[in-house]
Point group: C2
Chain length 145, copies 2
Amino acid sequence: MYSIGEISAMFNMPISTLRYYDKKGLFLNIERNSSGIRRFGQKEIETLNVIECLKKAGMSLDDIKLFMDWCQQGDKTLAQRKEMFYQRKKEVEVQLQELQKVADFINYKCWYYDTACNEKTENRVKNIKANDMPDNIRILYENTH
Amino acid sequence: MYSIGEISAMFNMPISTLRYYDKKGLFLNIERNSSGIRRFGQKEIETLNVIECLKKAGMSLDDIKLFMDWCQQGDKTLAQRKEMFYQRKKEVEVQLQELQKVADFINYKCWYYDTACNEKTENRVKNIKANDMPDNIRILYENTH
DNA sequence: TTATATGCTAAACCTGACTTTAGGTCAAGC
DNA sequence: GCTTGACCTAAAGTCAGGTTTAGCATATAA
């Protein structure tokens, strides 16, 4: 069992954030000692891992709370939880595609500024048409324009 | 040349957001007609593409504004702009790795809930150890736990 | 000529996710 | 017995990124 300070250090996350999550009900009835101090165990650690992941996957704390409540309700919510993860899966796949496109755009811009910096001006590179770009750059350019 | 309403439709973005961006100074001295109405041209369309991309790459509007200002200052800021894109490139690569990890976690959870739903309870799957998972799932699990 | 659509501004408001503040409890060490 | 450090709560404050409101101008169609 860990104190809030230990968990804060473990997850490199402010104590205030942990209390905020608890207030939102994200830790399902977390244990407290006789003087009201929170005791974090494996369950809470797993919850924090799930929170971090679902947040990165683009979910709001309210949606995550909904999921935590389903977990507490037991097997009768299995279908909903499954459905939720399949929905997330679809959205993360879209996010991955978009981020790959962003990467292509950035890589094109890196080439653009490499060229401009070498020539000390962007006057020439600014007007290069797709056909006159190196093949690998043209692909990036066409993916993103 | 396009009106704000046309651009709003074209980018599927509220008019209020376009005005908000303009107020922040993201469109470098955009043209207006004699009665003060904004006229959007190719330059502004390109600016919007850049904004969308840099936002997805995790930049704040203030940072994007900084970049726009550098653009206006001409060739003497080429090195800074290049540096900025190389920095972005690094960060987008990290984002891609993290998002791939999120995808692995979600895929593991999909398998978990598939199994639980088939068995109508999560009692068994909850206790499966990594060694007893199918190989492809174990890899996802170990990547993310 | 009046209704409708589209545009304008400044300023107030909103939301999610925290963070800070103010004031209090409690156990351990000096 | 008092100070220190770690914990507690409720409530207010913050910040980015918008959105809404109120009041007004302009242009075109009926």
